[in-house]
């Protein structure tokens, strides 16, 4: 294995790993969009809020991590319930852009609330996840693989598997799938739309918590965490707003694409190309498939 090829491999691997991290955030978007057609602008802030809560309860109330986790999950479920109660319920049947706007309002509220409750300092999030490069890989294969990202990949796989089970095997999950296709159909399953929304937002909240913990372990918990949503957007358009596998595959493609571009193209054009390259990549895909990689085909009718 030549050095250059090894380095290329490293680039691809770290791209894949970064892609998994993006996909974690994108998953939350997809869940909500799939079930309710809402483009949840607040997903990034939800990650921050979840992570802040997770760290906050540890700091302020001295809870151990294993207790803080269910506490944070509880808060996210409560949040989902509140969102349904105070916001979504009043905006049934509104245009998508209105709901999108409402999630923007929500993002503001959560951002302010998180800062207000837990302060705007950087918080260290350490739940004992392995950090740094894998010595094993580095020593034996001279391959640079970040341990945290491997863990993230594993967790993402578990999460996706769990979601798959949830959607395929549980009654509620099946209702959720039904609601994605047809609101009426969901009602016939016997679960009210309101309940479904609470469940979807709770699940998205938990996904946000997981993403928040992963990103928080990587870079500490503070305001910038909410900006990772921007990283998830190209993943979303690439994978399609409604597809969970799309989010994963899209994440991987974007991750690899932008890393390769940055490393191999960056030096020639002055660097910092990852951001726009991700979007350009997504745009290029879209021009071929306007509904995204895994999105449902748009058939125009009159």
């Amino acid at each position: 294995m030549s050095v250059e090829f090894g380095f290329f491999l490293e680039t691809v691997i770290s791209g894949l790993m970064a892609g998994v991290m993006y996909a974690l955030v994108a998953l939350g978007f997809v869940l909500i969009f799939k079930a309710s057609g809402i483009f949840n602008f607040a997903q990034g802030v939800m990650c921050l809020f979840a992570a802040l809560t997770f760290v906050g309860v540890q700091e302020k109330f001295g809870l151990p991590a294993w207790l803080a986790l269910p506490a944070a999950v509880g808060v996210m479920i409560l949040l989902a319930w509140l969102i349904e109660r105070l916001v979504l319920r009043h905006l049934v049947n509104q245009d998508p852009i209105i709901l999108f706007m409402a999630t923007i309002g929500l993002a503001y509220v959560l951002e302010g609330l998180g800062d207000l409750m837990w302060g705007s300092d950087v918080k260290l999030l350490d739940i004992g996840l392995p950090q740094g490069a894998s010595d094993y890989m580095l020593d034996n294969f001279n391959l640079y693989v970040e341990k945290l990202e491997v863990v993230a990949a594993v967790i993402a796989s578990i999460l996706v598997a769990a979601l798959a089970v949830f959607f395929q095997k549980t009654r509620v999950g099946r209702a959720l799938r039904a609601v994605a296709d047809d609101h009426q159909a969901a009602l016939s399953v016997g679960i009210s739309l309101n309940t479904i929304w609470v469940i979807v937002w709770s699940v998205a909240g938990i996904v946000a918590l997981v993403a928040g913990i992963m990103w928080g372990s990587k870079s500490g918990v503070q305001f910038s965490l909410s900006l990772i949503a921007l990283k998830a957007l190209p993943v979303l358009i690439l994978g399609g707003f409604t597809s969970i596998p799309g989010a994963i595959v899209g994440g991987l493609i974007i991750g690899v694409g932008e890393k390769v571009a940055e490393v191999y193209m960056g030096p020639f054009v002055g660097g910092a190309v990852e951001n726009w390259f991700a979007y350009m990549l997504a745009l290029a895909f879209l021009l071929v498939r306007p509904q995204g990689l895994f999105g449902e085909k748009i058939i125009e009718r009159v």
């Binding site: 998508p96 706007m101 923007i104 309002g105 726009w276 979007y279």
Partner: protein
């Protein structure tokens, strides 16, 4: 209540289609304009000019531009800040390359250049729709900002990539640079914004505007009655970008005076403008102004109130303000999803039938 419409009747279609068919609206807008032209300029100081009126006017102009695209033509864009950047950098290059050029021309040309760039980035809209398009416009956002940050020619090879607006005049009056009196700056922006609003209104109430709205409301039906999607969408992108580009030139040249691409034209600017038109009201000119006013003035007013009057710490006030802002947005959406302009519309209807409730 104040609407006394008795005796206002139209004997020709021109009057019937006037921008303000109701006389009271005409008087109202005339009074507003009179205040804007004859009262404010002589009471305005640096604070009111630089912190309140200039940003208000400039944001209104930019919001109007975005509203053409999103509100009238239904093409969601998140690349506004990039187009502002195009306008700003175009004006910077024009100002520094042709020092003698009147700033009015600079602004117009910046608008035109932005219109060209905007149309180019509008091309994908022919294939991509809805939120997919919205996210696709982010490509423009990131690419353009990267480009102007990277290519040194754009910022005249300055050490840091900052651009500074040199002193230029419009019709002999200095309007850019630190020494331009706020009065001139204000008048310059006001005139441009008023004219732009008038022209925009004219466009949207005519054939082109109706075709935009047709595409927005039902693109297939629009095509089947003879609306050409290509020209219609691109014209919306062009007009929108033209306004945004002019706004960008004013934003940088007149208001800020200096700009740095990643911060002044960051993605949060794009979102801010989008929020303005949604809160203000999609598809209305008035909404652009109301939205700009709300999103720019509310935080300032709130900050002043919380910090100066209640003596809260700045951080606390900022947090509360963000929460309140979000809460208000949600509240407005629940009360009236179509924005402040619609709220005014409803109030107006109420006033027109006063004292009756319906």
């Amino acid at each position: 209540m104040f609407y006394r419409e008795t005796g206002q009747f139209k004997t020709n279609y021109s009057d019937d289609r006037a921008i303000f068919p109701i006389a009271q609206d005409r008087y109202g807008i005339m009074i507003l304009l009179a205040i804007a032209f004859f009262v404010i300029p002589f009471t305005v100081d640096d604070y009111w000019g630089n912190a309140i009126f200039l940003p208000l006017l400039i944001y209104a102009l930019i919001a109007m531009g975005l509203n053409v695209l999103v509100g009238y033509c239904g093409q969601i864009s998140l690349g506004t800040a990039a187009f502002m950047a195009v306008g700003s950098y175009a004006s910077f290059k024009l100002m520094t390359s042709f020092p003698g050029l009147d700033f009015t021309i600079v602004v117009l040309m910046s608008g035109l250049i932005t219109a060209v760039v905007g149309s180019l980035f509008g091309l994908p809209s022919l294939r991509i729709k809805g939120f997919y398009l919205a996210v696709a416009t982010l490509a423009a956002q990131f690419f353009i900002i990267w480009l102007v940050n990277k290519v040194e020619w754009f910022y005249n090879y300055s050490a840091t990539g900052q651009i500074n607006a040199p002193e230029r005049t419009a019709l002999m009056f200095p309007v850019t640079g630190p020494n331009a009196p706020i009065l001139y700056k204000y008048f310059f922006c006001l005139i441009i914004v008023v004219l732009a609003a008038l022209v925009t209104k004219n466009i949207v109430r005519g054939r082109i505007g109706r075709q935009w709205m047709a595409i927005r409301d039902m693109d297939i039906a629009a095509e089947l009655i003879g609306v050409r999607p290509l020209t219609t969408k691109l014209s919306a992108f062009a007009v929108s970008s033209f306004l945004i580009g002019m706004g960008g030139a004013l934003y940088f040249g007149v208001w800020l005076g200096a700009a740095e691409p990643t911060e002044a034209f960051g993605i949060d600017q794009s979102f801010l403008i989008l929020f303005m038109i949604i809160v203000g009201g999609l598809g209305t000119i008035l909404g652009s102004f109301l939205g700009a006013a709300f999103l720019w003035l509310f935080p300032i007013a709130f900050k002043n109130f919380m910090v100066d009057s209640l003596g809260l710490s700045t951080a606390m006030s900022e947090h509360l303000q963000i929460i309140l802002m979000g809460g208000l947005i949600i509240f407005f959406l629940i009360v009236e999803p179509h924005g402040l302009a619609r709220l005014w519309q409803i109030t107006k209807e109420k006033l027109r039938i006063w004292p009756f409730p319906h």
